[in-house]
C-alpha cells in the first residue's frame, strides 16, 4: 500500500552539508547545491558548514516555515549517524519526522573517494537525486502506541526464575511464577553444598522459596504446563494447563499424614532415582508449595490417604486438568537446564557398571537429607569407597555430543573432592581426570588451591575406557597422563562422571510457543551476545539463567535480577511505542483469500503474520520488527513495508541508474551490517571506486527479486546485495531468507545469459570496512573487464525475459 501524494503538492528542501572540510574538501558543495535546485519538486536548496550544529538545524526549521517545505533532504553524513537528529529537527518545525531522507555524501562519498573529487561530486549529485526521488514518495507515519498490562509471567521456578519473580514483585508488579514440576527450587534445591563457600544449598535457597510463596504479588502456578502464548509486547495472553495433583491446593495443610499410610513407593526423580517416594508425597520436605500429589501412574486407589486426611478432605480423586488464561505484559524465560545421562551407549560404563554414577547422583548421596543419609556408599555392596575417580567433561567439550563447555562442572567436582576429603581425610584417595580446570570467578582459583592442598590428585588427561572387576565391582580406569605423556591405569572403587548440562527437555516446545530462537547448542538465543544478553529477539520476552547456556548460581541470580529489570522497563510504562516502519497488507491484493498461500506468515521471522485460510493475511504491528522479508516474499506484492516501500526503492534505483547505468554498481545493503561496513570503509578512508550507488534497507531480507530485475532492466552494470553474516542478522534470519531467494534468481539469470559475477551476494559485518572496499574494487575491475558493450548486449538479451517476469508479477 503506497501512499499516493499529489506530486504537485510536494515541496522539497535540500540541505547540503560541508561538514567543515570533511565533505567540502573533496566534493564541490556549491555545484552540488546548484544541481539540487534543478531537481523536480525541489523548491529550496542551500549549503551550510555544519548542518547538525544548532545554527544548521535552525536554518532547516526556518526554511521549512519560510518556503512551506513538506519534505526535507539532508545531504551530509550517514543516516546511521544523524537521521535521528534531523528527524527531531523537522518535527520541531511541525513536520512529520518520517518526511526526512538523508543522502550519505560523507562516509559513502567524500571520505571514500578523496582522490577523485570530480567523480565524487558527480556521485554526491546522484546520491541527492536518489534521496530526492525517495523523499518525493515519503509518507507521514505515526509511531504505534500499545497499552501495557503491568503483570509479568516468569517461566521456571529455579534460582534464576525465583529471583526474577521476587525482584518484579518487589517493584510492585503482579507476577505469575509458572513451574512445570511440583515444587519451585530448581536444580539448586537438589544440591548439598554450594561452591566455593560450601554453604548448604537448601538453607540459602529455602528461605527465598518461602519468600516467593508468601509474597502478596506472586502467584505460584506449579505442576503446570505452558500451552499457548498469543499476543505481543505489553499484551501477551498465556494459556496454562494445571495438571491434577488429586490433592486440593487450598485444603492440603502439608501435614504429611497421608504419606505414612500409603503402601506404594516409586523412584524419586528428585533424588536422581536413588531413593523412593510414596505414591502420595512431595518430592522433598522443603517443597514450595507444600502440597502433596498423588501419582496416579502408581496409585492403587486404596484410599488409605483419604482416611488419613479425614475431615480436611483435601484429597479429590476426581480432579481434572484445568486450563487458565493469563494476561501479562512481559515474560521472563528461566527454564534452566537438564543433566546429560550417558545411559545410551553406556559411556564410561554408566548404566552398565553399578559403581559408576553422575555428579548429580553423587550430590544426592553426600546430602545429609538424601536417600543414604549423607553416607557416600557404593550401590554394589553398600560400603564406603576407599578411592574415587572423578572424570570431567563427560559429554561436554565433545564434538560428537555437546561441543560447548558446561561451565560449572570443574567447580562442583572441586567441591565434591573437598567434601570427600573433609569427611574421610586420608582414608580416601581422590583422583580427578580433566582436560582443563576452569576456575574463572571470584574465589574459585583459591578453591582449586584448597583442593590441591587437601591432597586431591589432579591428572590432566582423557580417560579412554573403564572396565569392571566382576568380583569386587571395582573399576579399572585406563587413561593417559598428558603431562607425563604415558598411559596410566587406576583401580577405583567408585567413578563419578561430571556430565554435560544440556537444554531442558521442553525447551524446543517453549521455543515454539514463544517463537524465540535457539542456538545450535539448543539453548535459547539472546538478542545480542554482548549488549542484549537478557533479551530475546521477541520484544517483551527475556531470558534468565541456564536456559540461555550453562550458568552457576551467582550468574543465574544476577541474570534473574537483570531480566526483572529489563521486564520492568516495559511494565513500568502505560504504553510502549513502536517504530511505524512495519509491514502493511493490502487485503485486496492478498492471494490468501483465493488460494492457500501464507508465504508471508511462514517467512516472518517473528511470527507476526497470521494467514488464516480464506482470509487476507494480517500483520500484528506490535510483533513486526520491520525487516521487510514478507514484503519481498509476497508473490502478489500485497505487502508494503512502511518507509521502505517498493515505489520508494524503485524510485531510488531509477534515479541511481538514469545515467551511464552500465558503468555502475547498484548496492542494496542492510542497515546494521553491510551499510555500516560501507560507513566504516569511509570512516577508515579505505578508497574504492566511486561508481557504486547505495540503497539502504533495514534488513537484506527486504531485497525483492523485483529490485534486481528492475535494476537490470534499467541497465545496471553490477548489483551487490550486502547482508549480515549468517548468524548476525538483526532480524533472526532475514539474511538467510534473502540468500535462498537470491541464489535461485542468480541461477535463473545465469541460465538466461548473465555473467555470474554481475549479481553478488556478500556478507559484510559492520567491522569489515576493508572487505566492503575490496568487494567494490573487485566488482569494478570485473565490470571494466566485461566492458560496456558486453553488458549492454547481455542486458538487451535479458530484457524480454525480465519484462515478462516483471509483468507476470504485476498481472498477478
Amino acid at each position: 500500500m503506497s501512499v499516493k501524494s499529489n506530486v504537485e503538492d510536494i515541496r522539497i528542501g535540500v540541505f547540503v552539508c560541508h561538514c567543515g572540510l570533511n565533505i567540502a574538501g573533496v566534493v564541490n558543495v556549491k555545484e552540488v547545491t546548484e544541481y539540487a535546485r534543478t531537481l523536480p519538486n525541489v523548491v529550496f536548496a542551500i549549503d551550510n558548514r555544519y548542518t547538525c550544529s544548532d545554527p544548521g538545524q535552525e536554518e532547516i526549521k526556518d526554511a521549512i516555515k519560510k518556503y512551506n517545505l513538506n519534505r526535507v533532504v539532508v545531504a551530509a553524513c550517514s543516516p546511521r549517524m544523524h537521521e535521528f537528529t534531523f528527524r527531531r529537527t523537522i518535527a520541531e518545525a511541525g513536520l512529520n519526522p518520517y518526511l526526512l531522507e538523508m543522502a550519505n555524501i560523507r562516509e559513502h562519498c567524500s571520505w571514500a573517494h578523496p582522490s577523485h573529487p570530480k567523480e565524487a561530486t558527480e556521485k554526491a549529485k546522484e546520491l541527492i537525486k536518489m534521496a530526492v526521488a525517495k523523499a518525493r514518495l515519503l509518507a507521514p507515519l505515526e509511531p504505534i502506541k500499545v497499552p501495557v498490562t503491568s503483570t509479568a509471567l516468569v517461566i521456571g521456578g529455579g534460582i534464576a526464575g525465583i529471583n526474577a519473580a521476587l525482584e518484579l514483585a518487589e517493584m510492585g508488579f503482579k507476577v505469575y511464577l509458572l513451574e512445570k514440576k511440583e515444587s519451585i527450587g530448581g536444580h539448586m534445591a537438589q544440591l548439598d553444598k554450594t561452591f566455593p563457600t560450601l554453604d548448604c544449598s537448601i538453607c540459602i535457597e529455602g528461605p527465598k522459596m518461602v519468600d516467593v510463596a508468601r509474597h502478596p504479588n506472586i502467584e505460584i502456578i506449579s505442576f503446570a504446563d505452558l500451552v499457548k502464548v498469543d499476543g505481543y509486547i505489553g499484551n501477551f495472553t498465556v494459556k496454562i494447563r494445571k495438571n491434577p495433583r488429586y490433592v486440593l491446593e487450598d485444603k492440603c495443610t502439608g501435614c504429611g499424614e497421608c504419606v505414612a499410610v500409603c503402601p506404594i513407593e516409586y523412584p524419586n526423580d528428585w533424588d536422581m532415582n536413588l531413593g523412593v517416594r510414596k505414591a502420595i508425597s512431595v518430592p522433598f520436605p522443603q517443597a514450595v508449595p507444600l502440597v502433596y500429589r498423588i501419582n496416579r501412574d502408581y496409585c492403587i486407589e486404596c484410599y488409605k490417604c483419604v482416611d488419613a486426611c479425614g475431615p480436611r478432605q483435601a484429597i479429590d480423586f476426581d480432579q481434572k486438568p484445568e486450563e487458565i488464561e493469563l494476561k501479562v505484559g512481559a515474560i521472563v524465560v528461566a527454564t534452566g537446564y537438564d543433566i546429560y545421562l550417558p545411559e545410551e551407549g553406556n559411556l564410561y560404563g554408566y548404566g552398565k557398571y553399578t559403581n559408576v554414577i553422575t555428579s548429580l547422583e553423587f550430590e544426592r548421596l553426600i546430602l545429609a537429607a538424601g536417600p543414604t543419609g549423607g553416607h557416600v556408599i557404593r550401590a554394589s555392596d553398600g560400603k564406603r569407597p576407599k578411592s574415587v575417580v572423578f572424570i570431567q567433561c563427560v559429554g561436554s567439550r565433545d564434538v560428537n555430543k555437546y561441543p560447548y563447555c558446561s561451565n560449572f562442572c570443574c567447580m562442583y567436582t572441586l567441591k565434591h573432592t573437598i567434601q570427600l576429603k573433609e569427611h574421610y581425610g586420608a582414608d580416601i584417595d581422590v583422583y580427578v581426570f580433566y582436560m582443563d580446570l576452569r576456575s574463572h570467578f571470584k574465589g574459585y582459583e583459591e578453591f582449586y588451591q584448597r583442593a590441591r592442598e587437601m591432597g586431591v590428585n589432579f591428572i590432566r588427561g582423557r580417560v579412554t575406557r573403564i572396565e569392571e572387576d566382576p568380583k569386587t565391582k571395582n573399576l579399572i580406569v585406563y587413561a593417559e597422563d598428558t603431562f607425563l605423556g604415558e598411559p596410566i591405569t587406576l583401580e577405583a572403587e567408585m567413578v563419578v562422571l561430571a556430565t554435560a548440562a544440556i537444554p531442558t527437555k521442553g525447551s524446543e516446545e517453549i521455543a515454539r510457543l514463544l517463537n524465540i530462537p535457539r542456538g545450535t547448542d539448543g539453548f535459547f538465543l539472546e538478542s545480542h551476545p554482548k549488549l542484549k544478553p537478557l533479551d530475546t529477539p521477541v520484544d517483551g520476552i527475556f531470558l534468565a539463567g541456564a536456559c540461555q547456556g550453562p550458568k552457576d548460581i551467582p550468574y543465574s541470580v544476577a541474570q534473574g535480577c537483570g531480566a526483572a529489570a529489563r521486564a520492568a522497563t516495559i511494565l513500568s510504562k502505560p504504553y510502549v511505542t513502536i517504530e511505524p516502519i512495519v509491514a502493511v497488507v493490502d487485503s485486496d491484493k492478498c492471494r490468501n483469500t483465493k488460494v492457500k498461500c501464507g508465504i508471508c506468515a511462514m517467512k516472518c521471522p517473528y511470527g507476526a503474520i497470521t494467514a488464516d485460510p480464506g482470509k487476507p493475511a494480517v500483520v500484528t504491528p506490535a510483533k513486526c520488527h520491520g525487516c521487510g522479508t514478507c514484503a519481498a516474499e509476497c508473490p502478489a506484492d500485497a505487502i508494503t513495508q512502511m518507509h521502505f516501500t517498493d515505489a520508494q526503492i524503485l524510485a531510488q534505483i531509477d534515479a541511481a541508474l538514469e545515467e551511464n547505468p552500465e558503468d555502475k554498481i547498484l548496492g542494496i545493503c542492510c542497515n546494521w551490517c553491510a551499510y555500516a561496513g560501507a560507513d566504516l570503509a569511509g570512516t577508515s578512508r579505505f578508497e574504492y571506486p566511486p561508481n557504486i550507488r547505495m540503497v539502504r534497507v533495514m534488513c537484506s531480507g527486504r531485497v525483492d527479486r523485483d529490485f534486481v530485475l528492475y535494476a537490470l532492466k534499467k541497465g545496471a552494470g553490477m548489483i551487490l546485495i550486502g547482508a549480515c553474516h549468517p548468524y548476525d542478522c538483526h532480524y533472526i534470519d532475514g539474511n538467510l531468507k534473502m540468500r535462498v531467494r537470491m541464489e535461485a534468481l542468480q541461477k535463473a539469470l545465469e541460465k538466461l545469459g548473465m555473467t555470474p559475477d554481475r549479481l553478488r551476494i556478500e556478507y559484510v559485518s559492520a567491522a569489515e570496512g576493508i572487505k566492503f572496499a575490496q568487494i567494490v574494487k573487485e566488482m569494478t575491475s570485473k565490470l571494466k573487464e566485461l566492458g560496456r558493450e558486453r553488458i549492454k548486449a547481455e542486458n538487451e538479451k535479458l530484457r524480454p525475459h525480465i519484462e515478462r517476469m516483471l509483468s507476470r508479477k504485476s498481472a498477478a
Binding site: P263, G275, C302, Y350
Partner: protein, 296 residues
C-alpha cells in the same frame, strides 16, 4: 546409577526386579506352582499381569509349556497384591531381599486366610491318609517315636483350600475352610467334541472329569474357584464361574473393593460392604451399651 528394571523369565520362573541405588524390589513367580488361573490377572490394579498361552510368549528360547502368568516390568509397581491374591502362593514379593508385601502392611489389601486346622490328638499312629490325599503335596505327617506324638505339618501358604484332606480323613481330625466360595457350571452343549482342556488345566484332581457319556462333569465340593479351567477353555461361555466371597481378614480399602468387585461381582462386593457396615453398627451399639453398663 540409573534405575534398572530387569525381567528374567524361563519356563519355570519369572523374576522381576527394580534395582535402585538404595532399594531393591523383587517379584518372583514360581511357574511350577502357577496353575494358569485368572486371579492375579484380574486383581492387579495396574493391569501389569497377563495370563497367556505358551504360544503367546515371544522371544523366549524355551517358553513355558502351560498357560501361566507373565508380568510387565513397565507397569508393575511392586504393590504385592498378586502375591496375596494367589491362593496357590506362586508369587513372592520382596524388598531388599526380605519378604514384604506393602499393601498388607498398610491394610490396603486384606490378608487372604488359608485355614487348615488339624487336631493331631485324633490322629492314629501310622496314618498318612491326608498326606497322600493332598493333591499339591503340602501335608507332611511326622511321627515322633520317642515322645509318641504325631505332628502334621501343613504348608498352608500354598494351600488353595480344596478340602480334599478333610473329606478323606476318617478321624475327623482336619478342619479346613474354603478361601473362595462360588458357583461353577459347565454348559456341556458348547463343549467341542473330545475337548478336555479344562480337565487338564484344573489343579485339583477329580473336580473336573470326563463322564461315561463323554461330557465334562463337575464335582463342586473340591473346586477352589480359581478359574484355570476358564482360562484354558477354548469356547467362550462354556464355563460359567461365579465367585461369591473370599475368606479374608477385615480391611477397609478401595483397592480391595475394586479387586473384589472384579473377582466376584458388583452385587457380591456390595454385600460385603453392607455386612461390614452392619458389623460396624453392631460394634458401636455394643460398645455404647457396654459403656453404659460400666458407668453404672
Amino acid at each position: 546409577m540409573p534405575v534398572k528394571l530387569i525381567k528374567n523369565e524361563d519356563s519355570s520362573s519369572l523374576l522381576l526386579e527394580r534395582i535402585m541405588y538404595t532399594k531393591r524390589y523383587t517379584l518372583f513367580l514360581d511357574r511350577n506352582r502357577c496353575v494358569g488361573c485368572e486371579l492375579c490377572e484380574i486383581a492387579c490394579p495396574k493391569e501389569a499381569i497377563k495370563v497367556i498361552k505358551p504360544s503367546e510368549f515371544k522371544e523366549m528360547e524355551e517358553p513355558p509349556k502351560k498357560i501361566t502368568a507373565t508380568v510387565s516390568e513397565d507397569k508393575c509397581n511392586f504393590c504385592g497384591i498378586c502375591s496375596e491374591i494367589c491362593i496357590f502362593g506362586a508369587f513372592k514379593q520382596s524388598v531388599d531381599g526380605k519378604d514384604f508385601i506393602p499393601v498388607l502392611e498398610s491394610e490396603s489389601f486384606p490378608r487372604i486366610i488359608h485355614e487348615v486346622k488339624i487336631d493331631e490328638s485324633k490322629c492314629p499312629p501310622g496314618c498318612r491318609i491326608c498326606e497322600e490325599a493332598c493333591p499339591l503335596h503340602l501335608i507332611n505327617v511326622k511321627f515322633d517315636s520317642e515322645r509318641k506324638v504325631i505332628k502334621v505339618d501343613v504348608d498352608s501358604e500354598h494351600c488353595p483350600g480344596c478340602r480334599i484332606c478333610e473329606a478323606k480323613c476318617p478321624y475327623n481330625a482336619i478342619h479346613t475352610r474354603k478361601i473362595i466360595t462360588g458357583v461353577i457350571k459347565i454348559n456341556v452343549d458348547l463343549c467341542p467334541e473330545g475337548c478336555r482342556y479344562c480337565v487338564d488345566a484344573c489343579p485339583i484332581p477329580d473336580v473336573l472329569s470326563i463322564a461315561d457319556d463323554g461330557k465334562v462333569r463337575v464335582n463342586e465340593s473340591f473346586c477352589v474357584y480359581c478359574g484355570a479351567c476358564k482360562k484354558a477353555c477354548p469356547v467362550n461361555g462354556a464355563i460359567e464361574l461365579k465367585r461369591i466371597s473370599f475368606y479374608h481378614a477385615p480391611v477397609k480399602s478401595g483397592a480391595w473393593n475394586k479387586a473384589l468387585e472384579k473377582l466376584t461381582s458388583t452385587l457380591d462386593m456390595s454385600k460385603e460392604l453392607r455386612s461390614k457396615s452392619f458389623l460396624k453398627a453392631y460394634d458401636s451399639v455394643k460398645r455404647l451399651h457396654m459403656g453404659g453398663k460400666t458407668k453404672r
